[in-house]
Symmetry: C3
Subunit: 339 residues, 3 copies
């Protein structure tokens, strides 16, 4: 199994990349990230070409990384700028790959493939993360499972009824509505709960406990695995704008075939100045994603082991439609990249 190369992967929250060297493996490539003196981000292969020691064990000097083993220096373009030994000649092969990185929506995005195709406008819209009308809390989770299992989880939100006590509704699992006019590179998985009492999550957010309303969970997926959930609750048959919204971002980045970087954020358009609610949301996110989703997805990975999920012929339900479509889009993009 390989990974799509010509795509933007979420490498880190912007705040994670500082004047320290940050090592992160993205789609099997070890990369060291750091912020240059001017403030933009550099990303280099995290392996010195001399003796293969990770560069993040070295030192950042200005915009230069000095290898911690024998002192070879590399600039943000990946060129070796100093060999402190002997006559100081720099061997032609003494260079590392430099990755294109852009910051957008408070996320550092990295491009592994052909740099000439690295068009910033291809990044899916997560502007809600920096939209001043919203207050956003965000976190990071490491999952020992393939990123597509996490993506599948998010594309079938009917699991909330069984796995997440906070999302359980007395009237059973949500209604699933198949897409009428699917877009070629985008998938929508729409789950709704019209005319119901609020679950514990919406109660926490302040929706009156005894008031019925319409609750929507509309998940948008963009390749390879970037998901934005339009979630909110409003009065029965009232427009969404009248109610509360808490759009939730799930940025999934493959680390290896069996591990995933999971960046999540909750943005809300109400009670924005309440720090206590922000803390409560962070706690809820950890309970939901770390404590409830992660163990099940990792158990699934152990059952599947090194095989591909689809090759094991899983039984498919109607609610699996979006996940199956998303997997087909990834497969097509992978195929298109084959020489």
């Amino acid at each position: 199994m390989s990974f799509i190369q010509n795509t933007w992967y979420a490498a880190a929250w912007s705040r994670e990349i500082t004047r320290s060297l940050l090592s992160r493996k993205i789609a099997n490539e070890s990369i060291v990230f750091y912020r240059k003196e001017a403030g933009d981000i550099a990303a280099l292969t995290d392996r010195c070409p001399h003796r293969f020691v990770p560069l993040h064990l070295g030192k950042l000097k200005g915009d230069i990384v000095e290898c911690g083993y024998h002192g070879l220096c590399f600039d943000p373009s990946g060129a070796c700028t100093l060999n402190p030994h002997g006559d100081g000649a720099i061997p032609r092969a003494a260079k590392v790959k430099s990755y294109k990185v852009v910051e957008k929506h408070d996320v550092a995005w990295v491009w592994l493939g052909d740099a000439s195709k690295a068009d910033e406008s291809l990044i899916a819209d997560f502007s809600v993360l920096t939209n001043p009308k919203f207050r956003t809390v965000s976190s990071y989770l490491h999952v020992q499972a393939n990123y597509q299992l996490v993506s599948d989880n998010l594309l079938d939100l009917s699991h909330g009824q069984y796995l997440h006590p906070m999302f359980k509704n007395a009237e059973g699992p949500p209604k699933f509505e198949a897409e009428k006019e699917p877009q070629p590179d985008e998938v929508w998985a729409k789950f709704s709960r019209p005319n119901q009492l609020p679950n514990k999550y919406f109660q926490m957010l302040g929706f009156p406990k005894d008031q019925r309303g319409d609750h929507r969970n509309f998940m948008r997926w963009n390749a390879p695995s970037l998901l934005l959930l339009d979630v909110g609750m409003t009065g029965v048959n009232r427009p969404a704008e009248e109610g509360i919204s808490i759009p939730t971002s799930h940025l999934l980045t493959p680390e290896t075939e069996t591990s995933t970087h999971y960046f999540w954020a909750m943005s809300r358009d109400f009670r924005q100045d309440e720090d206590d609610l922000s803390q409560e949301l962070l706690r809820a996110g950890v309970a939901l994603f770390d404590d409830e989703d992660k163990p099940v997805i990792e158990a699934q990975q152990r059952m599947i082991n090194t095989q591909d999920l689809m090759s094991l012929k899983p039984v498919l339900l109607q609610t699996d439609g979006p996940a199956v479509r998303a997997r087909r889009i990834v497969e097509a993009q992978l195929k298109a990249e084959q020489p």
Copy 2:
């Protein structure tokens, strides 16, 4: 290496299977066990056919298991009884394997192979475990070694002299008597110590320290790895019935090629009402099997690694006869199951 399919494996002590979901891997198959409302035992493949999440992470509702991920429900026959999503149609492939289980001698026995051959009368006789004339204590041990290495250990009890201080006799290793008329599917390994002083074990059981006696260790083996030790001590040249007996059961169940479920029990026909002696026996069992046998057998497994013991051409002694015969019976049964 594969495992015999058409045989009864000890899956659990009866008391271990309750109204909670118990997951146990038997001969590489993940199985979830639970007790039905009527009291008998159900056993299903511990993997939902929808997304391959282990069923034991779900909920038991009546006699039904509800998958913890998306709520598919399975009955004790393995049939899916509910798809709570969409139109509720149940895909034809939505089913899991149901295993035949019987309870006998306080043990839950599971049959992996052809259910039509699952004849309860094939279970070897361990009626001592529930015989009211005996008081029984029992426990469970997990060993990181192939079940045949544990079986070999029990079929050559001369090791007691070297590995178990409690079983050591001043007069050296026991006498081994080869079987005169071996049965086709049963192996006996008879070790005896006529006219000796009691070792520490028999002293603990109350045999007078300075009185000589006849001490017998007669191990019975039935395929694939069920062992019952007729062990006791009586006066010199006196019938066994006059002395004390403490028949010891060793039920070995392969978990994987390199790990074993080890169920053991000690039954005694004397001092049955002394709870302190029961506790002392449990402690002795842990000292003998957990602390002395297990480390040696696991070290043996690490030395052998993934190879088969016999392929490494071990030096064979006379006392290895029973273990070699038992391995040949297993091999023949495995061969007979090949298509």
Copy 3:
């Protein structure tokens, strides 16, 4: 990858081998070492040929090792001297390999290959370890990396400037002088710092902080991976004998392809009677080798994974010359041993 067979490997410091059974894996062979009653050392395959239990789990009785499982006994020649079971006949195959071991320079050296070639005079000269003019401290380190990565580390001491704060000099990395007349089976890697202020290491040893001097680091390598560093500091342009010397031994023994036994010692020809300095040197050695070198070498191993360093085409600098020569000598010796 295989290991040279006809060579002396450092198996242990002499003091480590006592009347207890010491198990150590040398170049993938599990060996049990012990001191005979007469004081010399025996070394046997650490695996009973009967049931493959490690012999070091047994008992030492006189010069005999009794297997802890069934009591087979082996003498220092590897012959089985007792089968305590049945008729006591000793099967012809009941024997283990006995290894030739010699003690020299306070080190126990073991020979894995053809015993007829085990010539003690082939052991490289580490007589400094027992030379009464020197006071020696020594220790042991286990490294999760191939022994040649450790050897490479020691053959390019320019790394001290970057990895070891104690060895850093204000005037930059040391000067490297290529060998003029290389010997066929020996490699020298000479690094020097003429006319410099002492680094923290030499300050600790007592060289005046504000006095310039000549500092030499001349590393001698002998196959397969025995290194002696002639390190010292003297006045500018003064003979070495006038200054202080602290020859440092590094004996590297492959345990497996990816782990190494690392024996090190520091011998000094000054302040020999100061126990505090001995303790300080031991602490410095742990800081340098355990805390600074080991993590980098192990990170290197993880990057290289199961591949061979040279097959990954590392960029080579002038200072890599000695390491490359040493690897070529090992390769030639390995090739010469192929049938």
